[in-house]
Homo-oligomer: 248 residues x 6
């Protein structure tokens, strides 16, 4: 099967890292197609970036229909555009935040998220609540480093994750740690070894969920909320998003 | 003062109607600047439309900084891009859904929303929940008509609003009705007369809230969640959204 | 228009302060009528005081009908008697706690209340919950000073507000501060300057909301919850509250 | 022991009925002192009545301290003044709504309340929520009869309770019925026989809970929320409620 | 009347302590029958122990039908098997956790539980939530001592309860303390004296509630959730639990 | 890998059906070991059955450690013993209810469960809530048929599922249907075809989730809630559950 993993930011180096993580988790007969959008921010660290990453994400989902993709993974911890992506295709679409909290719920009773800058804490709180997980997520811990800082200086990143992960265990009594950024996949294993609790990267979780759903032959419900978008025109820079662009 | 009312869809006729509603509510010394974005969908009736309307909305907010705008109103009942808009300016930004539920809470103990197509019900449920109003909103009623159908055939629209409004009162025991689309402002008065309960249009509510906040000299908190976006580049069709475009 | 601002306690000096705050926020064509009830406690710092302030508050609301009042503000942070006030008049009635949380929600994602004695914390928690704001209000901070202590020694009061306000910002990560007592209006501006986040006084917020609702021509829903009270007699000291006293 | 049962309305005939119910449930060595306040409404069917019944209720609680009362029951289904009553005495105070929902929770998984006029539905919803029972209470059913109508025409009252009780069982799948008015105690037994599910009157439930708490020697916590009211003056008709009136 | 108090663990010494507590609270004409199951764990400190204590608990409830028991108390703070116990008898069944939170709600606005090992915190959080008490229970504090450690070394136990109880008052601002283990009854009185807030043992609370319900002649609703179990066979070690074993 | 699928009831015919479903979903290199416990009820339709199925389930989990099992699936829609199972092994344990709601959340915005007898509705409501899914699950629909009735008369079963499934779609506006019993797997495909929305069987969902977690090398967190049970003895029929029986 073919799973398209969309890194919603436009930093190719990070997409490579996500691709590696995805491939490390995928079965040998699963083809991973990892891409960055053709438009949008180089990293996502605010509502502004999040919303502006969505057109590029959706374009890639629409394109995926022609590429014979069986399932999609949106690989940014805000799950940007997830609900819209489910409208433009009937193939399953999995967000990495969503996948990580469901997976964590099976492995641990209470857990904390460790993520990038403090400003996104509210955004993640709302997201976690929308997945019904506010009782299980005991804390959302942030670091002073931004998304690309983790790319640039992985050692400093690991040091901060270790620090916050330890506090999560000792102060929050978190029984698992969720990595709140797609670029943190590489840290999962060593962090898990050091902390002694499951450390969950959403990318690999989402890939496995996507494989599972494809195996089961399940597709997104097209009954109401996730019906294909209504017939209409778009103008300006986004004119290409008009109804005719959507492949049903 | 100058209030910029942004109709997130690109249908100018509808923007005119919203402008009229806004002006009817504004004080004589308030200048209403009603606009449609330069890009995006002609109407908003899905997550897809909603997310894709946001770049255009944000562009208008950013532009507003140079236009000497004192406050912004986002005039679509999904409040698209509200949180991002609060990041790119320190002027108050009011969503019409948000304004309508807060206003309704002061006038009635329980109320229903009447809106367009059934598919957006989930979206509005989530929105209402995010404003803490799930106990007060007893129902979200939909009609078979889309956003622009109300423009094209206002009589049929009024008929459906009357029908669902009556059911809201009789079956939901709603004590006020909220009009769940910016294009419904024109129906509010006659509907209120017919139903005998407050009928609330979010556009006028938001304009009054915006005036109030400007009068009080209050601005959006720039401490954490709504800080200006981080310094970074954007690429492709959205390259113009890079950090330098934001006027602090 | 004429807005009657009712200070539910019977301390005239405090009513004067509230009047000043209200006038500072009101438009030039808005007449502010600030009063204290003819009966009840000199300050409100318990459920006992709160409930016993209500007869006096309601009496003033009823009287307001004959005074040609267009809207009412209840100026104590417990919003005492708010729902009953909405029963005895069809003019809008706004509570200052209610107004402050709705206003704050437009300006900040998360906020804390700073108020008087620790004993009222539970009362305010329940109030905030009843407005659907439990996720947004991250803390309710109290001070060892009572309501009238702030009148008597404003400098000490300011010092405590500064202290708790700073903790709210630094420890709760509150992005705005709500002043949890009608007598604290005078501190708002300098506190806002010092703390660098919006500091919201409910009195001015409520006055602006009241003006807005009057401008929109909206009245309280008389359908069910806020219908005029039922026809009946009252006895004893409260005999004057019998049905005939209510002016429909 | 001596339990003071306060009927918050001033209709003596109804107080007699409540007294009978209380005595029927009390142990032989429990003395029931049933009273109506010296001031306030003849019945309680709105927020207005509810709040205005509170001064009279509190006066009776304060008086109870001198009467050697061991516990108090507030016998109106809105539990008016409950939290203030807990401030003016350290003897346990039990509300009948509160007692009925806790008792029902032990006997049934889901239940409905059947009460008087539709207008009080919101009030009871908020009350039930404040006791944490919103999941267990599946419906609050109202009747077109007011409080005193049940006194005047018990047969018609029984007929309506039977009707709504049956609907509660058949449509709500309620597994117990809670009588939402202190004056309905007399109907409990025959209703229970007819419906085949527990029918719970709050008056008898509260009396038994009060006895239990007195037996256990427990008193209201005076640490914070329910501390004795602060030292202060009251004026006007309510001057008698000043601090000196409270017997600690 | 006869109340059967079932200690779900099989440590007879502890059953004796529970019996004493129960008898100290029971009326002189109430017969307390305190038992341990014939099978199961010597103490309950995990989900594993909790679930495996249930067969023994239920067996004792079924047996109680023949013993002429009027009500049952399940005396372990996880309320193991409570809902199943309500299925096999129509006599009221009261759990001690349930009884303690309802009783505490009448005496205090906010409270903390103090219990045994940290691992059961999640279990108690879920339990408290299921009773609708998550807002009232401000903390669940654990100690490093297990259930039987409190039996073996009551002095060390008292020391830890004192320590955590004090923290509950000072740090959580708990206004009452709930003892989160049936074996802690003996500490209640001295702890209450030291801490100056109500200290509530669930065993005595449950006994009083059971007496009350029997006095009122109320039984468990047999309409739906708590109907007698369906007719069926059981096999293996649990074959004796087949339908014929249940005495309707 | 080896996945042990435990049917918590002791009806071998049903275990065979579950085995078939599990195998149909498993990868070719996954070995499915489907078993029924050695003790307990032939079907699970009450809290009584549910709790009494748990000892047998746990025994099979403990045994699985020696059988070289990599993951466990508990195949009854109440997820009986799930949390205890996670204590006795560090291999992942997946409940079918849990798996079905997480999977459904990825495919549909709102969904209904269709299950067996009305009496288990409360049980499933509590379960769904404990997974944070109360907003997504719009209804839990029951049928008059018991668990084994579906085995005995699959045609009648299919007819009822069709009926309730259609009502779920038309009346609840459910966008997916969850089969609320492990024995309903065989109906999923034809029901999905008829109803036009995803119909989700928890058995296959849980098997895929188990495979995914094993692939990822993740294990249950042993930090706190799911630590191995404490060292202790068990007596009577359950003596074999003493500490020495648990293989760490």
């Amino acid at each position: 099967m073919k799973i398209k993993v969309i890194n919603p930011n436009t930093t190719i180096a990070m997409t490579k890292g996500i691709e590696e993580a995805a491939k490390s988790a995928a079965r040998s007969d699963t083809q991973i197609l990892a891409v960055s959008p053709k438009m949008g921010p180089v990293s996502i660290e605010s509502y502004y970036d999040e919303y502006l990453s969505i057109p590029g994400v959706i374009e890639e989902v629409i394109k995926g229909e022609e590429e014979g993709v069986d399932a999609f993974v949106i690989a940014c911890y805000g799950d940007p555009g997830l609900h819209a992506a489910r409208e433009v295709t009937d193939k399953p679409v999995v967000g990495i935040a969503e996948a990580s909290v469901y997976l964590a719920s099976i492995l641990a009773a209470r857990f904390s998220v460790v993520t990038v800058l403090p400003r996104i804490k509210t955004m993640l709180e709302e997201l976690v609540d929308s997945y019904g997980m506010h009782k299980r997520v005991v804390n959302i811990r942030t670091t002073p480093m931004g998304v690309l800082d983790f790319e640039r200086d992985p050692e400093a990143g690991m040091e901060l994750l270790r620090l916050e992960g330890r506090k999560a265990v000792e102060e929050d009594h978190a029984e698992a740690i969720l990595l709140g950024c797609a670029g943190m996949a590489e840290f999962a294993d060593s962090l898990e070894k050091e902390l002694g609790v499951p450390v969950i990267d959403g990318v690999v979780a989402a890939v496995k969920f996507a494989e599972s759903i494809v195996d089961l032959g399940k597709k997104t419900s097209k009954l109401k909320t996730y019906k294909y978008p209504e017939k209409k025109e778009y103008i300006g820079k986004l004119a290409s998003f008009g109804y005719s662009s959507i492949k049903k």
